[in-house]
Amino acid sequence: MDTNLALLLVLTPFLGFLINVFFGKSLGKTVSGTIGTLAVAISFIVTLVLFNQINSTGKGIEVTLFDWIQISNLKINLGFLLDQLSVLWLLFVTGIGSLIHLYSISYMHDDENMHKFFSYLNLFVFFMITLVIGSNLLVLFIGWEGVGLCSYLLIGFWYKNQDYNDAAKKAFIMNRIGDLGLLIGMFIIGSMFSTLDYATLKTAVSEGSPLLSLAALCLFIGACGKSAQIPLYTWLPDAMAGPTPVSALIHAATMVTAGIFMVTRLNFVFDLAVDVQTVIAVIGAITSLLAATIGLVQNDIKKVLAYSTVSQLGLMFLALGFGAYEVAVFHVITHAFFKACLFLGSGSVIHGLHGEQDMRKMGGLRKAMPITFWTMMISSLAISGVPFFSGFFSKDEILLTAFHHSIPLYVVGSIASVMTAFYMFRLMFLTFFKEFRGTEEQKHHLHESGSLITIPLIILAILATFGGLISLPGNSWLNEYLSPLFTKAEGGEHHLGATEYTLMGVAVLGGLLGILIAYIKYFKQNNVPESDDNIIGLSKLLYDKYYIDEIYEAVIVKPINFLSKFFRDYIETGIAAFVFGFGKVTGEIAFQGKKIQTGSIGLYLFVFVIGLCAIVSYLFLAQ
C-alpha cells in the first residue's frame, strides 16, 4: 500500500513528463498544460493522504524497491523514506508546484514550446520528490542532480539566446562544484559508517571526530551549491534568465531549499560537527547581508527578488548554523509562500508589460492590475517582517536564535532584514505607485492578468498571510510535528520573556524603518534610479555585484581556458614531436646510411676484409 502510494507520488509527475515529451506537441498547449498540472496535483493529493497518515501515526514509512549500487562495504538500495520532514517538504513542493503549473498554463501560452516547458516542470517535480523522499544520500543525489538538470533546461528554455544558455550552463557547473563536495562527503560518511541510509546512519553516528567534521563540511559545500550561498551563489541571479514561473518554483520555493533540506536531514551529523556549524552560521549571515546590499540597487525586478532569495536563504543557514533546524524549516515554508507569490506577481507584471523587467520603466500599475498589486503588497509585508504576517514569525524566530547564540551575527541578520524591507518596498513603490514610465502603447495595453494567473497569486497571498500560524512562538505545532527528527530540542522553544518581546519590537521597528526609508526616497521624493551609466560610487559597486562574477572569471575560468590552450598548443604537440622524433631520427640515420653504400666493389671488399680480420683478431685476443 505504502509502496504504491510512494510510487504513485513519484511517478505521476514522471508520467506527465513522458506524456508531454512524446505527445505534448500533438495534444496542443492547453491539454498538455492541464496534464502537467494534473500530474503534480495528483501527487499533491497523495501527499495530503500520506501527511494525514504520518501526522496521525507519527512514524515514518520506509519503502525499499531494490538494491541499486553494490559497493563492497556498503549496499545502496533504491528506497524511499517518508517521514515528517519529507512529507512536510512534499506538501509545499507539490502544493506550490501545482499552483505554479496552473499559473504557467496561462503565462506560457504564447510560447511555441509550451509542452516542453511543462514536461521539464514535471520532470523537475519528479526529481524534487525523489530528492526529498530518498531513503539514503545517493537517492537524494539522484534528485539533487536531477533538479540541477531541470534548472539547466529551464533557465536555458529560450535557447536561442546564448546569454540565457550561458546562465544555464553556469548554474549547472556551479551546482556541480557543490555536488563534488556532496559526493566527497558521502564517500567519507560511507567509509566511516559503511552506510548511506539515513535511518541506519542516525543510529551509527555517535560522537564527533575530525573526519566527521570534514564530511559535514563537504556536505555543506554541496548545500552551498544548491542553495546559493557564498561562494557559489552567483548562478542564482543569472538564473532569472528562465521564465518567471521557473524562477518562482525552482529558484525561490523549492530547489534552492534542497540544501537546507539536506542539512536538516543530516542534523545528527551536523550537531556533532560544531565547528562546521559555526562556519555555516557565519556564511549564512554574510551571504544574507551581501545579497541584501546588492539587492538594494538592482533595477531589474526579478534580480531584486533573486538577491532577496539569496539573502533569505542566508538567514535560513544562519538558523541551521545554530542547530535550529525547525526554525530554518519554518522560514523555508513561509519564504516559499511569499517569495513564490512575489515572483508570480512580478511575472504577472512582466506579462502585463510584454516582457519589460526594468522597474525604471514601470510605475503606477496599482490601478491597472489591482490583484497583482495587493497580493504582492501582502507578500512584501510578509517578507519585511511586518507583524502577524507569516514572515514576521519565521524571521523573528531566526533572529531570536541568533541573538541567543551570537550577538554579532544577530546584528548582521537584523541589518539584512532591514535592508530587505527597504528594497522590497523600493520595488513596490517603483512598480505600482506614481505615474507609468513606460512607452505609450505599453500603457495602452496595461491590463490585469487572467484568472489562471491571479488565482494562484491569491492563494499564495493568503498562505503568505496566515502561514505563520503553523509555528506560533510559544506553542508551535511545527516543532511538535518535527520533534521526532531531532536528537536534541535546540533553538525554537524560547519561553517568551522580556528580551524576546523587545527583540521582536526591534525587528518590527527595523522592518518599518526600512519601509519608511523606501517610502521617503521613492514615494515622497519620487526619485527614480539613475540609468546604468551614471550610477557612481558605492551604489556602482553594489550595482555591479561587487564584481564577484568578474573576479571568478579572472581567477578561475580564464586560467583554465588558458591552460587548455597551452596544453593543446604546446604540451600535446610537444609529446607528439617526441614520439615522432624516434621515427625522424631513424629516418635520418637511414638517409645518411645510404651514402655508405657507394657501389664501389673496392670499398665493399675492404669492409669485408676488415670484418674478417676483426673477428679473427678478436678470437686471438680472447684466447
Binding site: I71, E145, Y152, F172, D179, I184, N561, E572, V579
Partner: protein
C-alpha cells in the same frame, strides 16, 4: 555449445560479408553480428545456469600453445559489450555509402571477431594473437575509408599502428619470458608463476607499455586524437567503444594478477597517472575545435578514471572500472554517432561551423543531450554507477585521489555543455538540418535505453562480473 561458437559465427560472417558483394554487405554483416549477439546471450543464460561454456583444444605442442577460451563473468560481460555494440555500429553506418563496402563490413566483423577473441582467450599467446589481429582491420579501415587530407591520415594511422605494435611486442617478450618460467602460456599457470619482485616489475612495465598505449594513459596518448579524427566514424566507434576496452580489460585480466607485487608497490604512481589523464584530458578537451577530437579527449579523461580505478586493486575499483568500461563503451559510441549524424547534414566537424541545430531537430537534440548528460555521469545513467563506484574506491585509497578524480564531474560538465551549447543551441543555423531518420533514431534509442536501464538497475551486470573479479583479487592478494 561453447564460446568458440561466437568466434566461428563472426569469422564466417566476415567471409560471407565479403562474398555477398557491395550491395548486400551491410545487411549480411548486421545479420551475422546480431546472430553472434543472440548466441552470446544464449551462452550467458547457460553460464548463469552453471553450465561450463569454456573451450579448450591443443594447438601447438612445442612451445605449448593451447586454444583456450575461458568464459567467466568478466569475459562474457566484455564479449557482450563487443557484440552489443557491433550491430549498433554497423547499423549506424547504414546512412553512409562506402566504396568497396564488402571489404569494409568484412573488416568490421573480422575486427569484432578478434576483439571478442581477446576478451575470451585464456592462453597468453592466443590472447596476443587476437590482440594483434584486432589491430590490422582497424588499420585498414582508418587508412582506406578515413577522412581528411590523405597524407595527414597516413601519418596518423601509421604512427598509431607502429606505436601500438611497439607496445604489444614488449608484452610478447614478457609472455615468452613467463613461458620460460612456467612452461605454459595458460592463464592459471601464469597466475601461479613464482616471480621475484624485480621480475614482476619488468613484466609489469612491459605489460603497462602495451596497455598504456592502447588505453591510452597519458603520456602515451598522442596517437589517439588524430586517429579518432581521421578514421571514419565507424572506425572511431570501434576504437573508442571496444578496442580501448581491450587494454583496460587486459589490465584486470593479465597485468595485475601476474605482477601483483609491482602493482601494489607502485599503486600510487599508476593511480596518479590515471587521474592526471582525467584532468589533462578534460582541460585539453575544453579548447578543441574539432568535434571528434573533443570527444577523443573526453574519452581520454574517462578511461583515465577507469584505469585509476583498476589500479586501486580493490574490489570496488575493479568493479567500478568494469561498469564504467561498459557504460563508456555505449555512451562514446552514441556521441560519435551524433557527431556523424551532424556530419551527414553539415559536412563539417568544426564546432565553430555548427550551432542552431536544436530549433530544427528536437528529437536529435534530446537524444544528443541525454548522451551528453550520460557522459558527464548524471545520476540515473549507467555512467554514474560506474563513476561513483570508481571514485568511491579511490576515496578509500586516498581522499585526494577522489577529489582530483572527481574534478571530472565539474570539468566534464564544463566542456560537454560548452560543446552542446556551441553545437546545438543558439539562433537557427543557415544550413538546414533534417531531424534524425528512423535508422539513426533506432541506434540512438537502443544506446539510450541501455544507459538508462542499467543506470537504475546495474545489478545483473554487477552480479555477473563480481565473482570473476573476486577470483582475480584473490590471485592478486595470494601472497
Amino acid at each position: 555449445m561453447n564460446v568458440s561458437t561466437i568466434l566461428i559465427i563472426l569469422l564466417i560472417g566476415a567471409f560471407a560479408t565479403y562474398l555477398s558483394g557491395d550491395k548486400l554487405a551491410s545487411k549480411v554483416a548486421l545479420l551475422f553480428s546480431l546472430a553472434a549477439l543472440g548466441c552470446s546471450i544464449l551462452l550467458l543464460n547457460n553460464y548463469n545456469a552453471g553450465e561450463n561454456i569454456s573451450f579448450i583444444a591443443n594447438w601447438i605442442n612445442k612451445p605449448t600453445i593451447v586454444l583456450a577460451l575461458n568464459a567467466d563473468g568478466l569475459g562474457i560481460a566484455m564479449v557482450l559489450l563487443t557484440l552489443a555494440l557491433t550491430p549498433i555500429i554497423i547499423f549506424s553506418s547504414f546512412g553512409n555509402e562506402y566504396k568497396n563496402a564488402k571489404s569494409f563490413y568484412a573488416l568490421i566483423l573480422f575486427m569484432a571477431f578478434a576483439m571478442a577473441g581477446t576478451f575470451l582467450a585464456a592462453d597468453g599467446l592466443l590472447y596476443y594473437v587476437f590482440w594483434e589481429l584486432a589491430l590490422v582491420p582497424i588499420y585498414f579501415i582508418a587508412l582506406i575509408w578515413g577522412n581528411g587530407d590523405a597524407e595527414e591520415r597516413r601519418k596518423a594511422v601509421v604512427k598509431f599502428f607502429i606505436y601500438t605494435l611497439a607496445g604489444s611486442l614488449f608484452m610478447l617478450t614478457a609472455f615468452i619470458y613467463l613461458y620460460q618460467k612456467t612452461g605454459s602460456f595458460l592463464l592459471e599457470k601464469l597466475y601461479a608463476a613464482e616471480l621475484s619482485s624485480n621480475e614482476q616489475l619488468w613484466i609489469f612495465l612491459a605489460f603497462f607499455l602495451a596497455y598504456a598505449i592502447k588505453i591510452p594513459i597519458i603520456p602515451f596518448h598522442t596517437w589517439q586524437a588524430n586517429v579518432y579524427q581521421k578514421a571514419p566514424t565507424v572506425g572511431t566507434m570501434l576504437l573508442s567503444g571496444i578496442m580501448l576496452k581491450m587494454g583496460l580489460y587486459s589490465v584486470l585480466r593479465w597485468q595485475l594478477p601476474i605482477a601483483p607485487l609491482a602493482a601494489k608497490e607502485y599503486l600510487n604512481i599508476f593511480i596518479s597517472l590515471g587521474i592526471a589523464g582525467v584532468i589533462y584530458g578534460s582541460i585539453v578537451a575544453l579548447k578543441q575545435k574539432d568535434l571528434k577530437k573533443l570527444l577523443a579527449y573526453s574519452s581520454l579523461a574517462h578511461v583515465g578514471l577507469i584505469a585509476a580505478g583498476s589500479y586501486t586493486l580493490t574490489l570496488d575499483g575493479l568493479r567500478g572500472a568494469v561498469l564504467q568500461m561498459i557504460a563508456h563503451g555505449f555512451v562514446v559510441v552514441g556521441l560519435f554517432f551524433a557527431a556523424e549524424v551532424i556530419f551527414r547534414r553539415f559536412e563539417t566537424r568544426e564546432i565553430s561551423e555548427m550551432g542552431g541545430i536544436r530549433i530544427q531537430s528536437p528529437k536529435f537534440t534530446s537524444m544528443f543531450l541525454i548522451l551528453v548528460l550520460a557522459s558527464v555521469a548524471l545520476p540515473s545513467t549507467f555512467n554514474f554507477v560506474g563513476e561513483f563506484t570508481v571514485l568511491y574506491s579511490l576515496s578509500q585509497i586516498n581522499i585526494w585521489f577522489a577529489v582530483l578524480g572527481g574534478t571530472t564531474i565539474i570539468l566534464g560538465a564544463y566542456y560537454m555543455l560548452k560543446m552542446f551549447q556551441q553545437v546545438m543551441l543558439g539562433e537557427a543555423n543557415s544550413k538546414t538540418f533534417a531531424d534524425v531518420s528512423l535508422n539513426e533514431g533506432i541506434s540512438f534509442a537502443v544506446i539510450i535505453a541501455v544507459l538508462l536501464f542499467f543506470g537504475f538497475y546495474p545489478k545483473p551486470i554487477t552480479d555477473l562480473i563480481t565473482p570473476s573479479l573476486e577470483t582475480i583479487l584473490s590471485v592478486i592478494n595470494k601472497n
